[in-house]
């Protein structure tokens, strides 16, 4: 068959009429989605370090921004990265663990005040914690006078503060997933003599892995984004900062906006998160969608 003929075939005409434009829309939306990421990458490798006059393919390519980022002893990026990792991982783990305990009980047990509990933990967190920053500062300051490791400038109190800070959302997401797991499995285990905690540990947790992945991922990114309370509790000592707090110094610093090292650092911070998202995408999508459409 010649190309001309196949061009006129029914299949091709269908493709031209019904499919092609969808790809075109797809390209436009892709351009929008990755727009800042592309410029972040471009600026990170541009030796001139000026996002405002940036070319897509930088004229002066090089790793200058990365060397600048890593050699700056006053702004220790690797220390920030380690701080961020420790705080975000522990806080997210704590958030998910506490949320899972609450969600299990709210999903499986019938008790008085059940609806009220769920509503309350959701509503309480509508009060913006960032406005309570002064109170949190005072609490941690008081703690620090009695126990150094719970004081200002330490990571443990921050992890505890964040540990409960996504309780409402996490509990709600986990609960709606637990609700979809048939209770017959619990009943069977109960007959076999399993206690409520054993059921939670050995049945619910393995079955709910996808939703744990989703809540953990969302909590993690929420923690990586936090900078206000972090800077209030950890203070202005640059070795205590997280990536989110520290990198902002390049933008709001006293010598004007220093986009080069900022974008280099932002890119390095984005890559692992992006990789996690792509790697766990299947779970993420099904988790978000099941949380929204299943009742």
């Amino acid at each position: 068959m010649s190309t001309l003929l196949s061009f006129n075939s029914k299949k091709t005409r269908f493709w031209l009429k019904k499919v092609l434009w969808r790809h075109l829309v797809g390209l436009v939306v892709i351009a929008f989605s990755v727009f800042p990421l592309v410029w972040m990458i471009s600026a990170a490798f541009d030796a001139t370090g000026q996002i405002s006059t940036q070319q897509l393919i930088p004229l002066h390519r090089g790793l200058d921004n990365f060397t600048q980022l890593f050699s700056n002893t006053g702004k220790p990026f690797l220390t920030w990265a380690r701080n961020s990792l420790v705080i975000a991982l522990s806080a997210a783990a704590l958030q998910v663990a506490i949320g899972a305990l609450a969600a299990y009980s709210l999903s499986r047990h019938r008790f008085k005040g059940r609806k009220l509990t769920l509503t309350t933990i959701l509503i309480v967190q509508m009060f913006p914690q960032l406005l309570a920053a002064t109170t949190l500062f005072l609490i941690i300051n008081t703690f620090g006078k009695s126990f150094v490791f719970l004081g200002l400038g330490h990571q443990l109190p921050l992890i505890l503060i964040f540990g409960g800070s996504a309780l409402g959302v996490n509990t709600w997401m986990l609960k709606s997933f637990f609700d979809t797991l048939p209770t017959e499995i619990d009943e069977a285990a109960k007959i076999d003599g399993a206690g409520h905690f054993e059921i939670f540990l050995k049945i619910i947790i393995p079955l709910a892995t996808p939703i744990f992945v989703v809540t953990f991922l969302l909590s993690l990114i929420g923690m990586l984004n936090e900078y206000l309370i972090t800077s209030v509790i950890l203070g202005l000592d640059s070795k205590n900062m997280t990536v989110a707090v520290g990198l902002q110094q390049f933008i709001y610093g006293q010598y004007g906006k220093n986009w080069g090292p900022f974008t280099a650092g932002a890119l390095l911070a984005t890559i692992p998160v992006l990789a996690l998202f792509i790697f766990l995408q299947k779970h993420l999508v099904s988790g978000l969608v099941s949380g929204s459409t299943k009742g």
Partner: protein
Amino acid sequence: MTTVNLKSISKSFKYALSFIFVLLILIMGAKLFRDKAWFLASFFFFSAGLIIYVYSISKKTPGKYLLPGVLLLTLFHIYPAFYSGAVAFTNDSNGHQLSKQQAIAAIIQDSRVPIDSQPPIPYQTLIETNSSKVFILFKYPDSTYWIANSGTIRKLKTNLKDIAPDGKIIKVDGFKVLTPAQTESYTSELQNLTVELDSGVSLQPQDLEFLEVSKPSFIYKASKDQLVNVLTGEIYSPNNNGQMASSSGEVILPGWKATIGWRNFTSIITDKEIRRPLLAVLIWTFVNAFLLVLLSFLMGLTLALIFNFPYLRSKRFYRTIFITPLAIPSVLSLLVWSGLFTTGTGVIDRLFHISTPWLTHPWWARVAVLIVELWITFPYMFLISTGAIQAIPNEILEAAQIDGASPLKSFTQIKLPLVVRTLAPLLVASTAMALNNFGAIYLLTGGGPTFSNSNGNAGATDILISYTYKLAFNSQEGNNYGLASALSILNFILVGLISIYGLRKMKTMEGIN
């Protein structure tokens, strides 16, 4: 047999562990109690009691799962929220942070005026040999010699042989007496030195040789709770705003932190200076939230319809790329966006060959904020819309087709209502989130451009929470924690009401009844 043994071992291990945990909390509570941290100490004791009750006495299971969350929530959310709530009923702000006692002491201290009848008194400077602290030595009011610094004063027993003919002291035990030339290197210490005598008179070096004698022009009469200006005879009494005021309304600064009832709330309505910027902020808060949810839902739904097409290849690829905005930490991407929006030379302006005052013109700034917020939120809307569309049973659509419904009709009359009904609670939740979306505003525009009539606080893109934050921590005319707390309560009520409305509609909640 062995399983029973194992079980009992694990059980006793569990008990030992929880015993140690409770003991730890009690010890911490005791330490806090000793350090006079009353609230935290009682919180720890109460927690320990609750833990013992819930995990070993109570037979009810739910408490065992809910307690960890409840304890953390109470300490780090509910308590701070109530604390902020209490601040809303005070005038806590710059100029009103002292206690009443401290404020009155400060007023009296600041009101010192030189006594005209008293000529300056000559003094000498001493350094204590042990501590190398700076002291002054002077003769007042008669022939008694005093050694003093800001905190201490004592009489000096003098030997006649230590006094030079001009009345200066040559030698003091335990001190080094400085020559006038040596004194010069202690100028800054001497400038900060004030000696207060029991009579209320205070002495302060006016140069390197003489002390100025001054006395406060205010006297506090505790019995009447009044400040009296001894020079003018004017009487000042506490007003209802934590200040001392005369009958003609003249106030003396500083004031103190006082409970002012609902006035922060009423001033939102009655005070023109607060009301005008706040009204603009409130309108934008709602317009921004509703527009954002509407636009991102429309975009997400449209994309979901376009890409939920069975004959389209590489759907997975598109989806992966579409959700990148979710995967970039927004604190970083927002700052990158702010760079891209630079007027004239910025990437966006060069791309479209325009020069737009993105972040300096009110309307363009609002457009920029919406574009960026849309970029962050559309992937989520796309995902949940896709889910909702796929959840529509095929039979319904097929039945419609058989009945001869056009694709448009089957969309507007079947698909759309079903999708909207499924997603309605999530849209409400998204609206609540958008109302509280501090980061997007603060990092992108900082709330700016600033209104000219708002004392430099409110800006065109400020939403209630960013405006409140600026009032509390970053105000150009003095931070006002009282007013900020009142506004955060207002914000909480608004967002809370919308959330409750959303929860009511939520299917998940229906299952609970």
